[in-house]
């Protein structure tokens, strides 16, 4: 059992989560601020698509963009000498596209959970939108956002279908864990496959536990509603 697929998967998933994290939060905040309900629904639908599409469909679409026989891929190759397909970059791109909707939805849900009156109050006391985002929104949405990030990371780690199509299966370069497992099983090397599977199981378990930990933390801080607490019979000074 070589460590290469593990390392490649970790490298890929790590870079992917970095980009997805920022992208997801950014787009979620924008979508939350959209006033038109119709527009919000449409944009949300588009951004959520990779979540429900089969990975092979996504791979197909990525190939349509980055394939060397396609306009954009051709452009990149001719003008920048860059060939995305069959490069390690392709594994990162596939992971980002696949895991983005998870991050986006988690962030959006977390932002929407924050009590609206807090934002209104923040505005009336003079905080500008940037400050509101960093000092009010993010701290309160953080548990949800982090959970989303962790889930996204795991999803990026497990990506297979689209990766095979645009990154190929090059040992030491683009052969990720899931692909290594598939290949070993096809070759009948069950021992090796089992080793890789254990790695995936351990990582996944760790992911789920972390997510639960952060979800629990969420409840403590979100109760800002005084009257809610009044109903629970608190004392007065």
């Amino acid at each position: 059992m070589s460590f290469s697929p593990i390392l490649i998967s970790l490298k890929t998933a790590s870079l992917a989560i970095l980009i997805t994290f920022i992208l997801g939060i950014f787009t979620a905040y924008i979508v939350v601020s959209i006033k038109s309900k119709g527009l919000k629904m449409v944009i949300d639908g588009i951004l959520t698509m990779p979540l429900v599409l089969p990975p092979t469909v996504i791979g197909f679409m990525l190939l349509a963009i980055f394939g060397v026989n396609r306009p954009i891929g051709r452009l990149l190759l001719d003008f920048l000498g860059v060939k995305i397909v069959f490069s390690w970059t392709a594994t990162v791109i596939a992971a980002i596209v696949i895991s983005f909707p998870l991050m986006y939805r988690a962030a959006r849900g977390a932002f929407e959970q924050v009590d609206e009156t807090l934002i209104m109050a923040a505005r009336t006391i003079g905080l500008n939108e940037w400050k509101i985002f960093w000092k009010i929104m993010m701290p309160l949405a953080l548990p949800g956002v982090l959970s989303g990030g962790i889930l996204s990371f795991a999803r990026g780690l497990g990506e297979f279908g689209a990766t095979a199509m645009i990154a190929g299966n090059i040992a030491g370069k683009t052969q990720t864990l899931p692909m290594a497992i598939y290949s070993e099983v096809a070759a009948g090397n069950m021992e090796t496959a089992r080793g890789y599977v254990w790695v995936v199981l351990t990582l996944s378990f760790f992911v789920v536990v972390s997510m639960n930990y952060f979800s629990v933390k969420r409840f403590d801080k979100s109760k800002s509603n005084a009257s809610e607490r009044l109903m629970e019979g608190e004392e007065w000074a």
Binding site: D115, T117, L118, M120, A121, A122, R123, T124, I125, G126, L127, N128, K135, I136, P139, L140, K221, S222, K223, S224, N225, A226, S227, E228, R229, L230, E234, E235, W236, A237
Partner: protein, 353 residues
């Protein structure tokens, strides 16, 4: 100085149309839930943008649809006390209070300490909102507004969620804290007691439309409009029929000479507490006495409420008169089948719409 507002905002099944010019220092806005009071406050604060109109605070235009002015909430110098206080749960009391202060402000710490002291919050400065009581939270929310020295303070149903026995106490507290506030105060509530106690001038809102009523006490005394009378707690109304030289109060079976009134009222009202009950027959002009059958009674802690059907034959089937009397005045008498109620003329409220 003061607040001048003339705005209109159209929603799907609701139109907000508010128009007033307030020079008094404490404006109370009375209205039922859903009448648009909170919406109005949000328009004032800049959180909601009206479709058209203008808002001018102390001579400074905050919103003007014609001139294209729409000052951001951050810049309006308006203090807004939300119904749920809207304290930031992840910040301490001190942090909540101080977060609105501009970074450049050198005296931040001093200002925070000073205002915490004034509002008796110093001992709580490191606590989180979930660790302090509702009353304390309200003070923090108020301090957070006041530290920024706003020109006007908006209070959104500040006492609605509280138990009765605490309302009194906190109302007094808030009045104290506001006593040295120079700016205008706008208090929104569905409780007429609150409005009566805490505001100088009154505006009434119903289904998004506003009516400015003048001074609060005057407004309660002479509501002029039936819906205002209702909002201010009047429970008894009667349509008036024009009988030539008389007006006939159809719901009570009583007649009043037209000469009694300065102008032409459409209804008459009388507050449940304003009747004088007579336990024996008494000599009095007939149009001052209402005889009625007691339908049912409700006993509260300190008062009795009687639901009475006037005995006059020309009164409609479902006419009902509400009479309230303090238990101490009722002197523990037995509940009779019928009552004789005197309507003092000075308590008759002529209503014009």
């Amino acid at each position: 100085m003061g607040l001048m507002i003339d705005i209109k905002k159209q929603y799907k099944d609701f139109t907000l149309e508010v128009n007033f010019d307030n020079r008094g220092s404490r404006l109370g806005i009375l209205g039922a839930s859903g009448s648009g009071k909170s919406m109005l406050l949000k328009c004032l604060a800049g959180i909601i943008t009206p479709d058209e109109g203008k808002i001018i605070l102390n001579g400074r235009p905050l919103f003007d649809s014609v001139q294209g002015i729409n000052v951001k909430p951050q810049r309006r110098k308006i203090g807004y006390l939300f119904q749920n206080y809207a304290l930031f749960p992840h910040m301490t009391v001190a942090e909540n209070i101080g977060i609105g202060l501009p970074k450049a402000d050198k005296d931040q710490m001093a200002k925070i300490l000073k205002i915490m002291d004034r509002f008796h919050l110093t001992a709580l400065s490191e606590k989180y909102p979930r660790q302090i009581s509702g009353g304390q939270q309200q003070r923090v929310a108020l301090a957070r507004c006041m530290i920024l020295e706003p020109e006007i303070l908006l209070l959104d149903e500040p006492f609605s969620a509280l138990d009765d026995h605490l309302k009194d106490h906190l109302q007094k507290e808030v009045m104290d804290y506001l006593s040295d506030f120079n700016g205008d105060v706008v208090l929104v509530s569905h409780s007429r007691d609150e409005i009566y106690r805490m505001s100088d001038s009154l505006m009434v809102m119903e289904h998004g439309k506003s009516s400015f009523m003048g001074t609060t006490h005057e407004a309660f005394k002479s509501p002029k409009y039936k819906y205002v009378a209702k909002l201010t707690g009047c429970k008894n109304f009667s349509d008036l029929e024009d009988d030539g030289t008389f007006y006939f109060a159809k719901s009570w079976g009583l007649q009043y000479p037209k000469t009694q009134f300065l102008d032409v009222p459409k209804y008459l009202g009388i507050r449940a507490h304003d009747f004088i009950v007579h336990h024996e027959l008494i000599e009095m002009p007939s149009n001052r006495l209402l005889r009625g059958k007691v339908l049912r009674t409700v006993e509260d802690i300190f008062e009795l409420t009687f639901y009475i059907k006037p005995l006059h034959p020309s009164v409609s089937e479902d006419a009902e008169v509400v009479f309230k009397i303090a238990k101490s005045k009722w002197e523990n008498r037995k509940i009779p089948d019928a009552l004789i109620l005197e309507i003092p003329l000075e308590h008759l409220i002529p209503l014009y719409a």
